[in-house]
Symmetry: C2
Subunit: 457 residues, 2 copies
């Protein structure tokens, strides 16, 4: 067992696609979130699945950790290297391998980013719907079981990954799933891998379900004077079966941050941002029904974005919400909460979060994917003041406890990584240990992303 | 290790909820399909999760097989007992435990049947959409990853089971999933269990996602002179994004069987049966767009069922299709094929199936869930003529090979059991062995439904 031997073997094979430079190690050991840097011992850039097999085989032989690296946008330190090891950077495996428009699917390499895939699909009449804010890699999104603004209509990565090519801890390559739209042929290994955060294998190709670009799209923003009214409007919309494509909540503090970051002039109150997809007739019908719910709950000040450029601007603002909020306090880092609760408890959960943040010494705008019961508080902390991070962690802890008491989850879409590890026992109980047993059966020497997700890892 | 000791212990604990009678053993060792009887050594009827734990603990101690039993409707011998053991009949665990209308979910025991659940939900304004033809148990449907006529709109059991309570091989009880509508909190154990056919654990409770009963529903049948035109109409409907709730294909032989069984007078040609769910306006719009596609592909003779009783009669006929076809040949048993292929290959797959059946000595009407790319040939055989079963198996084999060559699957919804075991290696390759490794990690002594689904089991 020797890291030195692994580095030397990798260097020999990968030449200038291998680096131990401080810059690369630091660049592959950080995150956009509040975690301290945890650099790997080296970075390697494979170009083929077979090269990934070579990397894994070398690391298995030498007992060195292997951590996949996509776009570095994870929020829970999933791709950081608390025990060193080799970061496998997939940026040179970022191609669309095939688009099968008739089947409404495609196969891609893991390093392609969400925005690059969207650009590649633009002329196909199809799109890949999963849409977290960040411009994450598709492989990273699969490993985190990412979701985002369109999940209320199109589902999460769980629902939109049809199959995977995976390199396992012992160097075997497996193909999971098929190109059929459904199957009952044995254990759902695709589903097991999606959300496994690189602890069960390294994904080297993904087959994705695509959706037809809607004929008609309409987006809107509307304002509420009280959080609870906006939340009630969301719940009633979902319960009434209106097929919203997006339904996003932003609180007053988020509106202020948007205005400062983007030069908009939103009133400093809670808002809902919605989008409808369909035919001209269905979009008009959906918008009418939604409008009735909004009015009945005291919403007002509807602003419609019907032109594509206006819609793009609106959703770009939403996607940059995290950065807008971060920019509202100079030099701040953020701890982002990510609870998801049953719809009937959503109002109470958001109110509780808002009240506890008010009582705390730190600020934390709230926004989120309310149609799924998922919301985030962006808890801003001064990285040089440990007491602020402690306060944020304590606040986050109390919101998780609240969500779990309501039958919800510690993480709707950001994953476990290091940030949510402490809650897994409370959330899953014995089932968490079963995750550990599955991990050990597939990676007995614990070389794949050690220290993450499962107990005793 | 002693079956005798296990029987004796179970008899002592369960009294008259335990039986070794020939009638019960035979009743729990058969299937609706072509498999020979494989009776268990005994049948037990638990009433609580803790009683299931007791059963599993006794069987684990004595090394005796444990096989879950729902409604006995599986088509691939999943619940038969090729190695004997104890059939765990869930018919006394068949209650709805809780309906949470605001959250649009419910928790049920595994023994409740699809139709009983539907009746219990009738006044809630909600429904559980997964709808295989048979009146299966919900637990059995989860274990088979069942789907059916509404999957094209609402998904399979994979998409509609939010969480499970599972008794594992060592008697531990785990809770998987949560009541949040999405989560990134670790491995998707719910998804791993759904479709595992009782080889990883016995499900003792299920939390299900419910959907609002649509305001407006419209069903229709239309006729085509050629199979390929009907299939093209299906493909174009899916690709155009019309949100059909159901889109079913039946061939000419099925129409003849319907007429004989139900006294209808369908023309002896291929048909599509469709249903739309939504508001009055959206249903009308969907129906109009679908109608245009049908006409463009030479379809005709539209019959609409707008009243609930007419719709019920229409779908009852579809659901009884298997029995109608079986009744068309006195004393016949059936081998039902279940391939599922990518949409672009669907026409070719159906045509190939039709041609190969014509060339064979046996008859086999074709019908199926074409919107998913999934169809069945009901291959009828004389149970007293082994050459017919051999011919059917050979035909089934050739259809599976064809589907796998097209990137599809051997089983869209009926599962693996014993009937599809021989195809798993060809379909999954090395990934099948990974399924075996997961099985061994959770059930090292192989007491849970041995002989099924995984290699070397």
């Amino acid at each position: 067992m020797s890291t030195t031997a692994a580095l030397s073997a990798l260097s020999r094979i990968f030449g200038n696609r291998f680096s131990v430079s401080a810059a690369e190690r630091i660049g592959h050991g950080g995150s956009e979130s509040h975690f301290d840097p945890m650099p790997p011992d080296a970075v390697v850039w494979p170009e083929t699945s077979q090269e990934v097999v070579q990397i894994v085989n070398i690391c298995a032989t030498e007992g060195v950790a292997v951590i996949g690296w996509g776009a570095g946008t994870s929020l829970e330190a999933q791709s950081q290297a608390p025990r060193g090891g080799i970061a496998v950077d997939f940026s040179r495996m970022a191609r669309v391998l095939e688009v099968r428009a008739e089947d409404m699917d495609c196969t891609v390499q893991p390093g392609i980013t969400r925005q690059d895939l969207d650009a590649e699909l633009r002329h196909s009449g199809l799109f890949f719907p999963v849409d977290p804010g960040a411009n994450a890699s598709i492989g990273g999104m699969a490993m985190t079981r990412a979701s985002g603004t369109t999940t209320v209509r199109y589902g999460t990565m769980r629902d939109n990954v049809m199959g995977l090519e995976v390199v396992l801890a012992d160097g075997r390559i497996i193909q999971t799933g098929s190109r059929a739209r459904k199957s009952s042929a044995g254990y759902d290994l695709t589903g097991l891998m999606v959300g496994s955060e690189g602890t069960l294998g390294l994904v080297t190709a993904l087959t994705l379900r695509l959706h037809g670009r809607p004929e008609a799209v309409a987006s809107a923003v509307c304002a509420f004077s009280r959080i609870e009214d906006a939340v009630t409007a969301v719940i009633e919309t979902i319960q009434s079966g209106i097929p919203v494509a997006r339904i996003e909540f932003t609180d007053a503090a988020t509106a202020i941050a948007f205005n400062a970051y983007k030069g908009t002039n939103w009133p400093a109150v809670p808002h809902l941002m919605v989008e409808f997809h369909g035919s001209d007739a269905s979009v008009a019908e959906d918008a009418r029904r939604f409008g009735e719910i909004v009015i009945a709950n005291g919403g007002e000040d509807f602003k419609w974005a019907l032109k594509e450029e206006d819609r793009r601007a609106l959703w770009a603002m939403r996607h940059e919400g995290y950065y807008a909020i971060l920019a509202s306090r100079k030099g701040a880092r953020a701890l982002v909460t990510d609870v998801c609760v049953p719809l009937s408890r959503l109002g109470e959960a958001v109110e509780t979060a808002r009240a506890r943040i008010e009582e705390s010494p730190i600020s934390g705008p709230i926004l989120g994917h309310m149609g799924d019961g998922n919301f985030h508080a962006i808890l801003m902390v001064d990285p040089n003041d440990p007491s602020e991070l402690d306060a944020a962690k304590s606040l986050s802890n109390s919101l998780v406890e609240c969500a779990l008491d309501m039958g919800g989850t510690a993480t709707g879409e950001h994953g476990v990584g290091l940030g949510k590890l402490a809650y897994m026992d409370r959330e899953h109980g014995e089932a968490w240990h079963i995750m550990g047993e599955i991990k050990r059966s597939l990676d007995p020497y614990n070389i794949l992303n050690p220290g993450k997700l499962v107990p005793g890892n």
